[in-house]
């Protein structure tokens, strides 16, 4: 390793915040303006961002928690959460995989994750920084050659303040909803992407390559800007269950898709769902939204298998004429998990079109709801939407719900909605078992078949992993 690489590695460590004064770096629980000032100061933020956060906090203080979702969970006490804590130091982390929950390791093995990656995922104190520096460096050089900016949002605030200032909150305003306001006030870190005019991003961008990803905390903030006629595919998350000590997650993702640009955003979400009784799982309350200008295209693909409670509606505002929005979703709930997820397609421009394919799978005693809004505004002449919403039930103790909202204020708009509910039938299982498969293999094959239309939208590698992930997530759902 060259001296240059080592220097970079040390720099990175600093950027990720490992070498600051650890003693004073965790705040007592509770949220007030001083806490926000502290966070902003810690991150050496400019004045305008502090003001921006404070305004969000004031808005949030006036808001009440939404209760319309089809989920039930114990009250979250926002004054009992600590809103700033430094990542654990190397000494505080597990020193080897032997110190990690064996069940977590067993899951990693089932998913075929290599040993060194297991260590990173489980938060083991390994020297990943040095290992990955060369990979990351080549990766960064290649992106820099194309003019693509890809860094943490904290870095972006320092390096590209004009872009951040122009677009932060432009798609998801601070007052949008309770959790978005909270996130705006206290967001920890997240990703920033800018693709210049006419550039096709030379590779799929994955948070995996961002070393400090593991420490972005519970209030993640992502901003992706695709300038005119550019193209980017972004992968978020990981099929392996991520260890996290924070129960509440309230992320915000904003996509800005300028004229003729295209953003493809794929997510695999597998946060800890809690044990079979639902204890200890993550609450995932996320606001994801994209704004599509003229001829632009935004495509959301998500595979949601984790978290105890999911509340998430990746949406598209189709402002520009001829813009296109897509939403492909697989949401699987097992045991005591609850999900209320779907999308919003807001058609503002002429000849805008959107497609929604949602596949909900419920097993165990879980509850799975699709909630979707398709709105055709008066100016959306010639707009089209196609929605297909399928539910699959496994066993007889789970539930599936569909809440489609359709608002059409333009007579030339066309909206199609199809919905089905089916069960993995005893006859299907019997056929598979008579042909030699065990029940679990059979269920996973049937479920994968059910999800095929969504999986084919995922990047190749993700698609294979997603299939495997469903298999592991469904364990214990039959027999």
């Amino acid at each position: 390793m060259s001296q240059e690489h080592i220097d970079q590695a040390i720099e990175r460590e600093y950027a990720a915040g490992f070498v600051t004064d650890i003693e004073s770096d965790t705040l007592p629980p509770g949220l007030n303006e001083d806490v926000i000032r502290f966070i902003s100061a810690k991150k050496e933020e400019p004045e305008w961002l502090l003001e921006w956060r404070l305004e969000a906090f004031r808005v949030w203080s006036e808001m009440t928690e939404p209760e319309w979702a089809h989920v039930e969970y114990p009250r979250v006490y926002f004054d009992q959460i600590s809103y700033y804590s430094q990542p654990k130091s190397m000494e505080d982390r597990p020193q080897s995989l032997d110190e990690v929950d064996p069940e977590l390791i067993a899951t990693y093995e089932k998913l075929g994750i290599p040993l060194h990656e297991q260590a990173v995922l489980a938060g083991v104190a390994v020297d990943v920084v040095f290992d990955s520096v060369s990979v990351t460096t080549t990766f960064r050089e290649k992106l820099a050659d194309a003019g693509v900016l890809f860094c943490s949002i904290s870095e972006a605030v320092k390096e590209y303040p004009d872009l951040v200032r122009k677009y932060l909150g432009s798609v998801v305003p601070r007052k949008d909803n309770f959790y978005a306001a909270l996130n705006s006030a206290v967001f920890s870190d997240g990703s920033f992407v800018y693709i210049p005019k006419g550039v096709r991003c030379p590779m799929e961008l994955s948070t995996y390559f961002r070393i400090n990803e593991a420490n972005t905390g519970q209030f993640e903030r992502t901003l992706i800007i695709a300038d005119e006629a550019s193209h980017v595919s972004y992968l978020e998350g990981c099929t392996a269950p991520m260890r996290d000590e924070n129960q509440l997650h309230a992320a915000v993702v904003e996509l800005v898709c300028l004229d003729d640009a295209e953003i493809k955003y794929s997510t695999v979400q597998n946060w800890y769902p809690g044990d079979a009784e639902g204890k200890g799982g993550i609450y995932n309350f996320v606001t994801k939204r994209g704004l599509a200008h003229r001829n632009a295209k935004i495509s959301w693909t998500q595979v949601e298998t984790g978290s105890a409670v999911t509340w998430k509606y990746p949406s598209c505002i189709l402002r520009g004429d001829n813009s296109v929005g897509e939403f492909y979703s697989v949401a699987l709930t097992n045991n005591m998990q609850q999900a209320d997820t779907g999308t919003k397609m807001i058609h503002l421009g002429k000849n805008t079109s959107s497609t929604i394919i949602s596949k909900g799978i419920s097993a165990g005693k879980s509850s799975n709801a699709y909630r979707g809004l398709v709105r055709m505004s008066p100016k959306a002449a010639g707009a089209r939407n196609y929605t297909q919403c399928d539910s699959l039930l496994i066993g007889d103790k789970c539930a599936a719900h569909t809440f489609p909202y359709i608002e059409s204020r333009n007579p030339s708009a066309v909206i199609e909605h199809e919905a089905t509910t089916s069960k993995v039938s005893d006859d299907q299982l019997y056929l598979c078992q008579q042909r030699g498969m065990d029940a679990e293999k059979a269920v996973s094959m049937i479920v994968n078949g059910f999800c095929k239309e969504v999986f084919k939208e995922l990047p190749m590698e993700f698609a294979v992993e997603a299939g495997k992930l469903l298999e592991v997530s469904l364990e214990g759902s039959v027999g």
């Binding site: 006859d427 299907q428 008579q434 042909r435 065990d438 293999k441 094959m445 994968n448 059910f450």
Partner: protein
């Protein structure tokens, strides 16, 4: 190979099989005939291990094992194959995936590696040709939108790929036109061997014109009431089941 002794079985708490005994030796073809409701299909499902079909008395041994103690898939691993009368659809799962998963499950049981995709595709295409099914069917969802005849040929194709020791055909001939019937018969005849046996459950003598059975049994009210060679089937065709039932009574 298969020995059924005094088998009693219930479906939904109702007695269907009431003391059925039957022995099938390696290489033999047995036809089971009988009026509606006599328990023909139940016999196939009890042997294959369909949930809800419970044996209340009697024994079934296959290849020296107590079949009634085994899980459905374990019976399949032993080589029991049931061609369904009403094959079920599995939307979204391609026939090819389904077949590969089946073949690999069987191979795993024999401690063999999964078949590589290329050799599997080759075998699958050959099998589809043998049952006169366009290879395009391999890409379609399992039985999804198949006609009655296509479903039956699909069952036969599965049997060819899985190479069972005992093939049970549950009214595979019903609803088939004469050409399709011939295809099914040719398939079964090609698979006949000194190590492999068949039980043909059928209503009609017609199938037995094409697949010549070693034995014909008449099932009535859950028991075998008459056994004979293939001439018994012809006699049934001529006289119906009434005379046997009268004879038994």
């Amino acid at each position: 190979m298969l020995k059924i002794d005094n088998l009693h079985a219930q479906v939904d708490g109702k007695d269907i099989l009431k003391g059925l005994s039957l022995e099938v030796k390696a290489g033999e073809v047995h036809a089971i005939m009988g009026p509606n409701g006599s328990g023909k299909s139940t016999l196939g499902h009890v042997l294959a291990g369909r949930p809800g079909y419970t044996a209340s008395a009697g024994t079934v041994s296959f290849m020296g094992q107590d079949v009634l103690q085994l899980e459905t898939e374990e019976r399949a691993h032993l080589g029991i194959f049931l061609a369904f009368q009403y094959p079920v659809e599995i939307p979204g799962v391609s026939n090819m995936e389904f077949l590969k998963a089946s073949v690999d499950a069987m191979r795993e049981h024999r401690s063999l590696e999964p078949l590589d995709t290329v050799s599997f595709m080759k075998q699958a295409r050959e099998a589809s040709k043998a049952v006169d099914l366009d290879p395009a069917f391999l890409k379609r969802g399992v039985n999804e939108g198949f006609s009655g005849g296509e479903k039956k040929r699909n069952e036969l194709m599965q049997m060819m790929l899985l190479e069972p020791t005992l093939g049970i055909l549950d009214e595979t001939d019903s609803g088939l036109d004469i050409d399709a019937l011939q295809v099914v018969a040719n398939g079964v005849n090609a698979m006949r061997s000194p190590e492999r046996s068949f039980i043909l459950v059928t209503h009609y003598q017609r199938l037995l014109d094409y697949i010549e059975p070693d034995f014909v049994h008449v099932l009535s009210d859950g028991r075998i009431v008459k056994s004979g060679d293939k001439s018994l089937a012809l006699e049934l065709e001529e006289k119906g089941y009434g005379w046997i039932e009268d004879e038994v009574a």
